[in-house]
């Protein structure tokens, strides 16, 4: 093993431990934050008994969930029932490995430890656990894996509520995965690279992509909400309909793992949002953050944290404000609106980039501003056109009632089912 490789492994392990700890503690604190935010919106105080301002509440909840009795439905599929929470939990954590959370740090060391040998590291160290070239493709791939946990949880519980929750979850996540992937193609077109570092570099040099790619930003934001099953897209666990959806039959720590996975997904999607559209750790109007000093790393990390946090807050705000979509409306929104918009937008951006190439506007700044103008015009058209009739759509109850009447006629011919009219 070369000293350089050892040095790389050392910093990687340190980063791994730090990121894992921060994410897990962050998730725990997010549960508290959610309760505090909801309390604040509902004229309540929220948890304030365990620790100062309720800060120990997540610890108390965790302890309670560890000590609680685990139950399992008698007819459930044992192996899958046990594996499902882990299958939902692991992808949620894996995603945090590829998000750059601060500006690169200049790190030079060369030392020798007894037994372990010499460790060497030189140059800029990217503040990300794994700066893989596949970038956000990796995120899309892994986040789709989360569906397995949820769908299998719903199926293996052998409960109808769970099954329907699992079905809804898989249909919803697969549908919005498509729109989400499509909304990222303009980012790729503009950057020419899928790695997060390249995306951030491009945004540092020009504008944050929220401006030149506003429509992508919008589609990604909505699809992201649907991806993580949060209101107004929380149909898989719609409490009032399916009691708790796919995790109805889960208890104690296995339930907690779904819960943690949900919040970890929330962190990831917010971090993606910050990285892809809000400049990542970039501090606007200065290049000092790229100097590689410890201070620059810390301050850029604070900026990244602020961006992620504000997006998380927005997600919570939406949850405590909006009602829930209905299943068919959700599907209609995903397939009939989000996907076409994302596809059309790819065409618009590609055409615009080609046209600017023809006109000779190749300077990145000029390109970005021109795209901003195009996107904002499109954004206004879409958001103003997003009236209730066109997007959410009224009910197609009449058609469905006819279909039900037809099915009913068939039922009437069947023996049995007396006195049910």
């Amino acid at each position: 093993m070369t000293p350089e490789l050892k040095g790389f492994l050392l910093v990687s392990i340190v980063k791994l431990l730090v990121v894992f700890t921060v994410v897990m503690v962050g998730v725990a604190l997010l549960t508290l934050l959610e309760r505090k935010v909801s309390a604040w919106m509902q004229n309540r105080r929220g948890p304030n008994r365990a620790g100062w301002a309720g800060l120990l509440q997540p610890a108390a909840d965790g302890l309670k969930n560890i000590l609680k009795e685990e139950t399992r439905p008698g007819a459930s599929s044992r192996v899958l029932f046990l594996a499902a929470p882990a299958m939902a939990f692991i992808p949620a954590l894996m995603l945090s490995a590829v998000i750059p959370f601060a500006a690169p740090l200049r790190l030079d060391f060369d030392f020798t430890l007894p037994l372990l040998g010499r460790f060497v590291h030189q140059g800029m160290m990217p503040m990300v656990v794994a700066d893989i070239p596949a970038g956000f493709l990796f995120v899309l791939a892994i986040s789709s894996m989360g569906i397995y946990g949820i769908a299998l949880a719903g199926w293996s519980s052998n409960s109808k509520y769970s099954l329907m929750g699992g079905l809804r979850a898989s249909a919803q996540m697969v549908s919005y995965e498509v729109a989400m992937g499509m909304s990222l193609i303009p980012v790729l077109l503009l950057t020419g690279d899928v790695s997060f570092s390249a995306v951030i570099r491009e945004q540092q040099q020009t504008l944050w992509f929220v401006l030149p790619l506003f429509v992508s930003f919008f589609v990604f934001a909505v699809a992201g909400l649907a991806e993580i099953n949060r209101l107004p897209f929380d149909l898989p666990e719609a409490e009032s309909e399916l009691t708790a959806g796919y995790h109805t039959e889960y208890s104690a720590m296995k339930f907690s793992m779904f819960f943690i996975a949900e919040y970890a997904n929330m962190v990831t999607i917010s971090a993606m949002m910050a990285t892809l559209f809000l400049g990542g750790w970039d501090i606007p109007f200065t290049t000092w953050d790229e100097s590689g000093t410890v201070l620059a790393v810390l301050v850029s990390h604070l900026f990244f944290f602020a961006k992620v946090f504000s997006w998380i807050f927005l997600i919570m705000w939406l949850r405590w404000t909006l009602p829930r979509f209905r299943y068919d409306q959700l599907m209609a929104l995903g397939w009939k609106f989000m996907l076409p918009v994302a596809l059309a937008y790819i065409m618009v951006i590609a055409l615009a980039l080609w046209g600017m190439g023809q006109l000779g506007w190749t300077a990145p700044g000029t390109r970005a501003w021109a795209l901003t103008a195009v996107s904002l015009i499109l954004g206004v058209i879409i958001l103003v056109g997003l009236d209730r009739g066109a997007i959410v759509g009224g009910s197609d109850l009449r058609r469905r009632r006819l279909a039900a009447a037809a099915a009913r006629t068939q039922l009437a011919g069947r023996p049995g089912a007396p006195g049910m009219d």
Partner: protein, 425 residues
């Protein structure tokens, strides 16, 4: 598909032709696969233990995908036998029973029962009593609609307005507690009057409520009325046409949302409602959204009535001056022979209406609440029949749910505004 499974489970547990109890399995069997699980239709049992059944309503839904083919409501899980109990109670002892039927608007029920007995006896109430009873009715309407608003919001996924509306409801509960000593089991009325006059300064509390309450309504209005998701979830869902609404004998906001302009307060006035200035909101399409707008407007109108009632509240007696129905004051009962006799007869025998029967319908928050009393001249009713608005409104549920989606069933059920205590009685 195995139609046998469907057929079995749709049966209400009942007696078969030989009189044996037929049991229907509800739990999960030992086998990993449920019989008929591979069929096209799925039976889902919602309730009696479910977050959205507003008590213990049980709905058996036959689903194809998420589309409801049939919805079969099962009631009776909260049966308390109030009507039968009433046959063994004196008239004033019925009043605590009415607290517990529609427990979201106890005061209005108390008023309804007292009015029915007074109609039987031909008693003319005092002015102050009438005004106070109007206040009681309208306060009940507001709290009942607030519960409806909050729980419907929750059923559709919006949690926050629930707490806002419950905070407002809490203020009325405090007022009820100040008046009667109880928050829920108010037992406010007595035949011929009230159990107590309002305490000193109570009007100011209600005035303060009337002043500030509409701002909360406005907030909820901002959250829901023009919210695209709310509109998408409620418009054209659970529609009842004018004809259907009348044929199903709907009443209250359910009927008015279906464009039928019928309000007992206007059409068969009691408690001098005809002298109050208020509007009756009427919907247009008979869907959930119209029921929502109708109820929202009713709360504002109730607020108007409350303000008018407060303005016309004058000092005076709250009970009729009739020793047959009202206990004499304690001081007189201990010093005056005649009063003591009345006191004794009242306590030992109770109120005795003449033989006959009377029906009194009042506009309760959930619809027309009717009390039908049959008296044989004794102190206990021969028959006491409640016309519970929830029970009759919920009967239209299968009709409204047919062809809807599973989520719609929850929304429709919420929009009916049922109270199981009243449905099962």
């Amino acid at each position: 598909m195995s139609s046998r499974t469907v057929e079995m489970e749709l049966q209400t547990p009942t007696l078969d032709a030989e009189g044996r109890v037929r049991h229907v399995p509800l739990g999960v069997s030992d086998s990993a696969y449920e019989e008929g699980f591979g069929s096209e239709h799925m039976l889902v049992n919602i309730g009696p233990q479910h977050p959205a059944t507003h008590g213990v309503l049980r709905l058996v839904l036959e689903l194809e995908g998420e589309t409801v083919l049939r919805c079969i409501p099962h009631i009776g899980y909260l049966h308390s036998g109030f009507e039968k109990l009433g046959e063994y109670r004196q008239y004033n002892q019925l009043i605590p029973l009415t607290d517990r039927t529609d427990y979201l608007s106890p005061m209005a029920n108390n008023v309804g029962l007292a009015l029915a007995v007074e109609k039987l006896m031909g008693i003319e109430l005092t002015e102050r009593c009438k005004v106070l009873r109007v206040i009681a009715c309208e306060m009940s309407r507001i709290i009942s609609h607030l519960v409806w608003l909050g729980t419907t919001g929750i059923d559709l996924g919006a949690y926050t307005p629930f707490l806002w509306s419950f905070q407002e409801r809490e203020r009325i509960y405090n007022l009820q507690e100040a008046w009667t000593g109880a928050r829920l089991t108010t037992s406010l009325t007595r035949v011929g009057g009230l159990m107590a006059d309002i305490p000193e300064g109570w009007e100011d509390g209600l005035r303060e409520f009337c002043r500030t309450f509409p701002s909360t309504l406005d907030e909820v209005d901002t959250m829901f009325t023009r919210n695209a998701i709310w509109i998408g979830r409620t418009q054209d869902v659970g529609t009842m046409s004018r004809e259907d609404a009348i044929n199903y004998s709907l009443s209250g906001p359910m009927l008015r949302a279906s464009a039928v302009d019928y309000d007992v307060r206007k059409d068969r006035p009691y408690l001098d409602y005809e002298t109050y200035d208020f509007d009756v909101p009427v919907g247009e399409h008979g869907d959930i959204y119209d029921r929502y707008t109708v109820r929202m407007e009713e709360m504002r109108q109730s607020n108007r009535i409350l303000e008018q009632a407060l303005d016309r509240l004058r000092p005076g007696p709250i009970n009729v001056d009739d020793p047959r129905v009202i206990l004499p004051p304690k001081s007189r009962a201990m010093s005056d022979m005649e009063a003591m006799i009345y006191h004794f007869k009242q306590v030992m025998e109770g109120v005795k209406p003449p033989a006959g029967e009377a029906y009194m319908g009042i506009e309760n928050p959930k619809g027309e609440l009717g009390y039908y009393m049959v008296s044989d001249g004794s102190a206990k009713p021969v028959r006491w029949r409640i016309r519970p608005p929830s029970f009759i409104n919920i009967a239209a549920l299968p009709r409204m749910c047919e062809g809807a989606l599973l989520s719609d069933v929850i929304a429709i059920n919420a929009s009916v505004d049922i109270v199981m205590g009243e449905v099962d009685r």
